[in-house]
Subunit: 310 residues, 4 copies
C-alpha cells in the first residue's frame, strides 16, 4: 500500500517554460525560512536527501559530491600551494568541506548572506557538519562582495559558489566584469586562481549564461579554463570556469594532477582524477564554437539571465 | 492567448518510477501504427520535431545529430577504409544518412523489423529522405539477426542502432554474448568494427545496461572502446561501446581523426572532431570504476534490463 | 502498447491557483484561430469530444446536453408562448439547437462575436449542424449588446450564453446592472424572461460570481429564480439565474412543466423534467445563505471576477 | 517567494484512468501507519486540512460537514425517537460527532477495524475530539459485521460509513444483500432505519456502485430513499441510500424536518434543513432512469467495484 501512496506526492520543478519534471517526495524532512528565502531538506525518490532554496533544487546526496569535487579541487591542485581560500556563497557547507580536505589550507573565509541557510545546513547536513565546526573556517553572513573587498590581505584561491545570475536576484552582480576586475583580481595573491560555477552548459543551454561568464572572465584574466559535467539533479550538463592569473598553471598533466591530489588531499576522490579532468576540459566542437562566438561581457547593463526569477 | 494555451497540452514520460517529466506539445504532426508499435511525430516545445515509438522518445531534431554523429563516425574513421556497412535497426534513417556521407561506402544494408516505421520516417523526416532513396542503401524489413546471419559476405562496419534491451522487448537478444560471438564477429571482415548504442551512462544510470554491454563485448572482442555524451532528449548521459577486431585501430590521434573526417566525409561535422572524441573517451573515475567492477555478461539467461517494458 | 501510449498525452487545466487537473488526450481533432481566441476540438478520455476556447473547456459531448437543457428549457416553458428568442453568445450552436426544438419559436437571433468559432462549430459539431442551418435562425457575428440594442422589436426570451465574466475579458459588461436595466429589460416583451448561465455555484465557489449575478438581477427584475446542477466537465456545480418580468410565471408546478415540455418541444428531454427542476431550484441552506448575504451589484466599477484571465 | 514555492509540492490523485488532479500541499501535518493502511493529515491549498487513507482523500475541513450532516441527520430525524445507534466504520469520528448532537441518543456503538486511524483522528482532528471522549460512545476496533451480529440487542439507526466497495478491499462484503438481509435488518428495532454512503452518484458515475447499492437495498427493505449532493473534495456528486423498515417515515414534510432538527439536535445545521433535503431527494430524470434500469444485486459473486484497488 505504501508504495502506491508514496508515488502520489510530487515536487514539480520547471526546467524551462515548456519542460517540467516531477520528483516523488518521500518525506519533507526539515523546513526553514529566512528573510531571503525558504530552505527545505526533502527526501526525494530519485535523488535522496535534496536541498531546496525557494523550491529550487540546490543539491542532492546522490550527486553533490560530483559538483563539489569539480568546483574545488581542479583549482586547488593547479595552484602550487593554496593556503588561503575565500568562498563567495557556499552556505550549504560542502564547498568548505572539500576545501578543508587540503592540508595546505590554513585559512578559509566563507561569506554567505543567509545565516538561516548556513545554520540549517550545519544542523541537518551530516556530511558537512565537521566543516562548519573547523577552526580553520571563518564564516561570515553578509554580502560577499563587500566582505571580499574589505577583508585584510589577499587569497590564493577564490571560489564562486553562488546562485545563478537570475534577473533581479541577489547574485548577478557577482558575475560582472566590474566584480572580476575590481574585486576578485585585486584580492588574489600572485599566482592566485578564481573558480566559479557557471550554470548550465549543455548543447541546448550553454549560451544561457555559461559562455557569457567565460567571455567576461576572458576580458579580465590571461587564461580561462572552462569545463563541464552532467549533473543529474540539475537535469543538464553543468559548467565551471576557472580563471588563472598565471596561465602556465593550466598546463598540468593528468599524472601531475593525480600526484598532487594524492599528496595534498585527505581521503579519496570519488569522481575526479587527472584522466577525468582531461576529459572534462576537452570540450566538444559545438560548445567550443559557442564559446568562440560569444561576445557578451557581463556588466550591470548587459547581464543575461537564465530561466526563472527570484 | 495562444501562448497561454500551448502550455496546456503536455506529453508525460516516466524517467523512472519516481521521476517523470512533461514536455509541452505544440502539435501532433503525424501518427501511425504498425503491428509492432505506434509511431508519432510530435512537435514539442523543448525539443522541436520529436519522434516517439509507443510514446517513448526516440529522437528529436534539436539533438539527434549529436547521437547519430557519435554512433556512426568514430567507428567509420577508425576503420581504414569502410566499404560495406550493416545497420541493425536504424529505421529512423538518420544512421543511414550519416553512413552514406562516407564516400568510401559502396554498400549499406539496413535491417529494421518495422516497415511502417521506415515508411513513416521516409515520408515525414525531411533530413533523412535522401538517405532512404540512396542507390547504395539496401533496406530490408525483417529480423536483424536472421538477416545478418544469412547475408552473403561480410562487412567492414556493423552498427547496432536498436531499442534498449527491455525485458520481453524485441531487441534484448541482440545484446547477448551469443549474438556478438556467433553472428557479429563472424560477419565482420578482418579489421572490422562493431559499434552499438548502449543505453544510459550517467553517474546514476550507467550500471543499468551500459556496463554490462561493455562487459559482454569485452568477453568477445580484443578491444572495446566505451564513450559517453549527454543527450538532452533522453534526460541523461548516453553511452556507446565500440568493439574492434584490431586493437591498434583504437589508438588514433585527434589530429588523424580530423584528417580522416575531412578527407572521407561529405559536409561538416557539427559535434564531433578529434578533440571532442578525445574528451568523450576519457571517462570519469566513477564510470571507469563501474566498468571495471562489472561482471555481468549478457546471455539469454542473465540479461539485465533498464526501466520500462514493452 | 497503445493503451500505454495514450495515457501519456494530457491536457492540463488550472481549476484554481492550487488545484489543477489533467485529462488524457486521445486526439486533437481540429484546431482553429480567430482574432479573439483559439478554438480546438479535442477527443479526451474522460469527456469524449470536448470543445476548448483558448485551452479552457467550453463543453463536452458527455454532458453538454445537461447544460443546454438547463439553460434553455426552464425559461422557455415558464414563458406562456415564446415566439422570438435572442441569444447573447452561444457560438457553439447547442443553445440554438435546444431553442429550435420549441415549435412556438418563429425567430431566433443569435449574436456571437466570433465568426471563426461559429463556423468551426457549424462544421465540426455534428449534433448542432442542423441548428446552424435552420431558416428560423439569424446568426450575426458582432457585439451582443450593440446588436441587442439596435435590433428592431422585442423578444420573449433572451438567453445569456456567454463566457464567464473574466477580468479584462470581452463579456463582463454583459453581466452588469446597466446592461440588464438599460438593454435586456427594455428589449423583453411583456411577460418576457431573461436567463443567463452564472458560473460556478458549488459550496466553495458560489460567491465567486453566482451570487453577485443573482444580486444584480434582483436589483432590476421583480423575480429571480436561481438553480444549480453539477457539471462534470467544469469540475463543479454550475449555476443559472432566471429573471422574470412576471413573477407569477415562476410558480409553475412540476406537472405543468411536464405537460408544456411534452406539448411544445420536439423529442425527449434527457435530463430535465418537472421533478428534476423542482429539485434543482430547491437550493441548499448554505447556498441560500450566500445568496441572502450577497450585496454586490455588478457595475462597471464593482465587477467581481472568477479565477483566470483572458 | 514562498507563494512561488508552495505551488511546487503537489498531491496527485487518479480520478479515473484518464483523469487525474493535483492539489497543492502546504504541509504534511501528521502521518501514521497501521497494519491496514497509511493515514495522513495534509494541509492542502484547495481543501485545508485533509485526511488521506493510503493516499486517497477521505475528507477535508472545507466540506466534511456537508457529507456528515447528510449521512447522519436525515435518517435520525425520520426516525421518531432514535436512542441507540450503530456505526459501521466511521473511524474519523465526525459521524459519531453528528450522531451525538441528537439529545435522544443514549448509546452509540461505533465499530471501526483500524485502531490506529481512530487514535490518529482522536488526537489530530480537533473538531471530533469531544465525540471520541463522549461517555455515550462505545468504540470497538474490530470487524463491523462480526460485532453487529454479536452485539446484544438491536438499534434504532444503523449507519454505514465505510470505504467504497473496492475489489479485494475490506468493505465490499458490507454492501451485499446477505449483509443487509441477515445482519442489518435483523439488528434494527421496529421502525429502524439503515443509511449508507453509496459512492459517486454523478451523471457519469452513478452506475459505478450507487445504483447497485440502491437496487440491493430495495431487494431487502420496503422503502429505499436515495439522495445526492456534490462534494468538492471527491470531485463528484456523492450518493446516499436510506433504507426504512417503515415506509411511512419517509413521507416527512420539509417543515416537520425543520421542527425535528430544531427540537432534537444541539446547535445549528450548516447545510441541511427541510428545504435542502426536499431538493436533494428530488433526483434528476437521468439519475432516476439509471436507478430504474438497475438490476444488479450485490452478492459475494456479483459485486461491482468502482475505480481503484486496495
Amino acid at each position: 500500500m505504501s508504495e502506491e501512496y508514496t508515488k502520489r506526492l510530487w515536487l514539480e520543478e520547471d526546467l524551462a517554460d515548456d519542460l517540467k519534471w516531477s520528483m516523488m517526495v518521500k518525506n519533507v524532512m526539515f523546513s526553514g525560512k529566512s528573510k531571503f528565502q525558504e530552505v527545505d531538506l526533502i527526501h526525494t525518490g530519485p535523488f535522496g536527501k535534496t536541498l531546496f532554496l525557494d523550491g529550487k533544487v540546490q543539491s542532492s546526496e546522490v550527486d553533490e559530491w560530483v559538483y563539489h569535487e569539480l568546483l574545488v579541487h581542479p583549482a586547488m591542485v593547479m595552484h602550487p600551494n593554496p593556503k588561503s581560500v575565500f568562498i563567495c556563497g557556499g552556505g550549504e557547507g560542502a564547498t568548505a568541506r572539500e576545501v578543508l580536505r587540503h592540508k595546505s589550507v590554513e585559512k578559509l573565509v566563507m561569506v554567505d548572506i543567509d545565516k538561516v541557510v548556513c545554520d540549517f545546513c550545519h544542523e541537518h547536513l551530516e556530511v558537512n557538519k565537521s566543516a562548519f565546526e573547523s577552526p580553520r573556517l571563518e564564516l561570515i553572513n553578509d554580502d560577499a562582495r563587500a566582505q571580499l573587498e574589505a577583508y585584510p590581505g589577499k587569497f590564493d584561491v577564490i571560489i564562486g559558489d553562488l546562485a545563478d545570475p537570475l534577473e533581479g536576484g541577489p547574485c548577478y552582480q557577482l558575475y560582472t566584469q566590474d566584480f572580476y576586475q575590481n574585486v576578485v583580481l585585486k584580492k588574489l595573491n600572485p599566482g592566485g586562481i578564481f573558480i566559479t560555477q557557471s550554470g548550465p552548459a549543455g548543447i541546448l543551454s550553454c549560451t544561457e549564461v555559461f559562455t557569457a561568464i567565460n567571455c567576461t572572465l576572458r576580458s579580465v584574466f590571461p587564461r580561462v579554463l572552462p569545463y563541464t559535467q552532467h549533473m543529474p539533479v540539475y537535469c543538464d550538463v553543468w559548467g565551471w570556469n576557472m580563471a588563472l592569473t598565471d596561465p602556465k598553471q593550466a598546463e598540468i598533466s593528468p599524472e601531475e594532477m593525480d600526484r598532487r591530489l594524492a599528496a595534498r588531499v585527505e581521503g579519496e576522490m570519488r569522481f575526479l582524477d587527472g584522466a577525468t579532468f582531461e576529459g572534462l576540459r576537452a570540450l566538444n566542437k559545438h560548445l567550443r564554437g559557442c564559446l568562440a562566438g560569444e561576445t557578451c561581457i557581463y556588466t550591470a547593463d548587459t547581464a543575461r539571465f537564465i530561466h526563472g526569477s527570484v
